[in-house]
Symmetry: C2
Subunit: 459 residues, 2 copies
């Protein structure tokens, strides 16, 4: 027997021998009373849920399951509340369809889970104004009015929690705000939209068209009837604006994020991406360089070796880059009732801990420099579909040369029909605006059967 084997056994014997000596310190009962005395107010934190859909009922269930006494559900508010009422909550819960009743109640925290701006904005404003803390999962609201609401919360000494707005159950906002508070972050990139991830994965693995993959996503409940908010990038854009605010300490309204749609990505792009050892994902990217801020969302080529290439289904992944700490990744379920409920309840724990004490969500000064916003610089993938004839490459190369864009490679896979031939040109790193003018010029060529599709190649 090797010393190690002997060691293992000895360890196991020791472990068995000392099994009963396992010390759980501090003694649980005492620990809880200590903790309560030190860090919690003696009364439980009273919670009003507004919006009782998938996430709302998951929050109610999670609060019930925790049963630690410090967070108590007291109100549930929804339109047509009689349709929503369930029997498994505490009988003390008041069910109402009146937001006014919630606002004038003794609830300490209002949880806003209605989504969209109206009437969520007014509810949150009034709740904060009347001295209640607010927890919300409404990314549009925070991306649109986060500044105003944080200022209001601060002026009223209340907590405003919105960890559930970005990447559902993945604790990326607390990670960026607290865990990496000591670093200076310079870049955030991520996969923030599960619908796009589902659709792109289907195109990749089932060789589907975008339209078919979208229908599948809708059928499977991964996409809305009107999918534009997801597939055209605005959903991820709102999340990226929030990440930029709390990670990079800058803030832009979400409609200032450059968004490109995934609608034009086709199976042939995955074939060419594979040739380049890449796959295609909807990537959200924000970075600071030389006093400039770059923010964009859109389909992008990512190396198969990148952690971003391995994200599947409704998984989200955020990679932050710090000047000192380098790359840090946060991954997990970006959507769904239970993961989102975890983020909401985690914020409620914060709200309860911070009641009358301090404001957690608004204490990060922004960086001082004002930065214009432009599309970002990166190598580019450009896919053409042409009616083949001699001279096409020469014609394209001449336009690229004129615009001082360097061709990196020309990739043409065999086996395609010459009458609708797809091929790819990759360009060395270049800026979006320069490329844009070039593609405008190229689009005039009559050998093109459809407009060229350009995607950045990101790390």
């Amino acid at each position: 027997m090797s010393p190690t084997q002997a060691g293992v056994r000895q360890e196991r014997r020791k472990a068995k021998a000392r099994g009963p000596k396992l010390v759980l310190f501090p003694q649980p009962a005492k620990a809880r009373s200590n903790a309560q005395a030190d860090v919690q107010l003696s009364s439980p934190c009273r919670i009003a849920l507004v919006g009782f859909g998938t996430v709302g009922s998951a929050v109610a269930r999670l609060l019930q399951t925790r049963g630690d006494g410090s967070l108590r559900l007291t109100y549930v508010c929804n339109r047509n509340i009689s349709r929503k009422r369930v029997s498994w909550t505490s009988p003390d819960v008041v069910w109402t369809d009146s937001m006014k009743r919630v606002l004038t109640s003794d609830a300490d925290v209002v949880v806003e889970l209605m989504g969209s701006l109206d009437p969520a904005h007014e509810l949150v404003r009034q709740a904060l104004s009347s001295g209640k803390s607010v927890v919300t999962a409404n990314k549009q609201l925070i991306a649109h009015s986060g500044h105003e609401l944080l200022q209001l919360a601060r002026s009223k000494g209340q907590y405003l929690g919105f960890g559930a707005c970005v990447a559902g159950g993945v604790p990326v906002l607390s990670g960026l705000q607290d865990g990496l508070a000591g670093d200076r972050l310079v870049q955030i990139r991520g996969i923030l939209n599960g619908t796009c991830n589902f659709i792109l994965s289907r195109i990749e693995h089932a060789n589907s068209s975008f339209a078919d993959a979208l229908r599948e996503a809708q059928h499977a409940g991964f996409a809305e009837a009107d999918p534009s908010f997801d597939v055209d990038g605005q959903d991820a854009g709102a999340k990226l604006a929030i990440l930029a605010r709390f990670g990079l300490k800058v803030s832009v309204a979400s409609d200032q994020v450059i968004c490109r749609s995934i609608r034009d990505v086709s199976a042939v792009d995955f074939e060419y991406a594979r040739e380049l050892n890449c796959t295609i994902r909807q990537i959200s990217l924000a970075y600071l360089r030389d006093g400039n801020l770059y923010l964009a969302v859109g389909p992008s080529l990512v190396s198969k070796d990148s952690p971003l290439a391995k994200v599947s289904g409704s998984q989200n992944l955020v990679v932050s880059t710090g000047e000192f700490g380098g790359e840090t990744t946060f991954g997990g379920h970006g959507a769904g009732g239970d993961p989102t409920a975890v983020a909401v309840v985690s914020d409620l724990v914060q709200a309860a801990n911070h009641r009358r004490k301090r404001l957690a969500a608004s204490d990060h000064p922004l960086v001082a420099d004002c930065m214009p916003m432009r599309d970002f610089e990166s190598p580019q993938y450009i896919r053409f579909v042409v009616r083949d004839r001699p001279g096409i490459i020469a014609a394209l190369a001449a336009v690229f040369a004129k615009h001082r864009l360097n061709i990196d490679a020309i990739v043409q896979k065999p086996g395609y029909d010459k009458s609708a031939l797809p091929f790819v040109i990759t360009l060395e790193s270049c800026e979006g605006p320069g490329l844009d003018a070039t593609l405008r010029e190229i689009s005039k060529f009559d050998f093109l059967l459809e407009p060229p599709l350009a995607m950045p190649v990101v790390q």
Copy 2:
């Protein structure tokens, strides 16, 4: 031009047009004074660094670079301080080799970066007793005396931060404590030791022996002259005990973690692991099931599809599993001066924010149930090296059958010398103790050239 392309261009034009309108809100100067008024005391937080090695000097540099005025380095303490003194810190910094001077100074926070238990334990105890907060990167200290020190900090109303103890710059502790506070975590698994990761990667990719890979690691500065704390698992075990405390809300002393060494892993194991679509990593695993707590560190087979299989170099990865939120991953640089300094300074930001306000690190009650500790149940990989002769499989299979262990597969790659033939038997899920007895019996067979090497196969 497709609608999308048109959209992109329109977006870009809009972006350009509104470039100068980029709003950085609130106005930085005002934001800072607001923030300070609301959440910080007006005086800067005075910081004493004890231990000025790689991490200590990185912390000093990071504090200097931040230059936000809220964190001020005032003391640096080290043995033979004259050797350590640098010219790039503020001239106001007091350089001393007297810990007593630090303890009697007006420093608000003592940063303990000496490592090991003595005299770090006494320094931290005295600093907390004298009403100073403490930030430490000392995993041994926290794994060994965390309970006592947290109680002391709580009784003195001070902050004890130790985010740098686990996974260096990866904000996993804040993620588990705050970001996932709403969930009930049931499992934590991770790659927590860069030395083991380096050595196992070398064995895998360069076909090295353990001894050669260790020498390489030592040469490259990835392993100590005495590597046992790393390769035999105690380093990761201390980190796992801390993760269990703050993630699973249970606590065991670090010497109660079952540790198995990576010393017996050889290149042939990677060959067989590949046959099973796996690789081999030092995995730290803690989980709660049916009221039992399982805690172990050791070489394990992980599926190539697992995020754990893709961790390279000094990268660390922690995967937590919550009852509600499912799997969440935290990855990044687990060691090195700058990443560890980020964790220390992030704790200092917390300490400054929480000065005289609340205690962040000790407000999580532990779960109530007492749990015996056992090795965990999992499928097993067992590698034999035998002098080949007929009847070996029959002999082994008889022993496994007698102990009611189910063989899953027998894997034998061609091309090995029959006089020292390695082959592998995989077993269906079984418990450590049962396997242990079986291996003891098997070890008596005279056809074995070395003791069998057993490794769990983890998800």
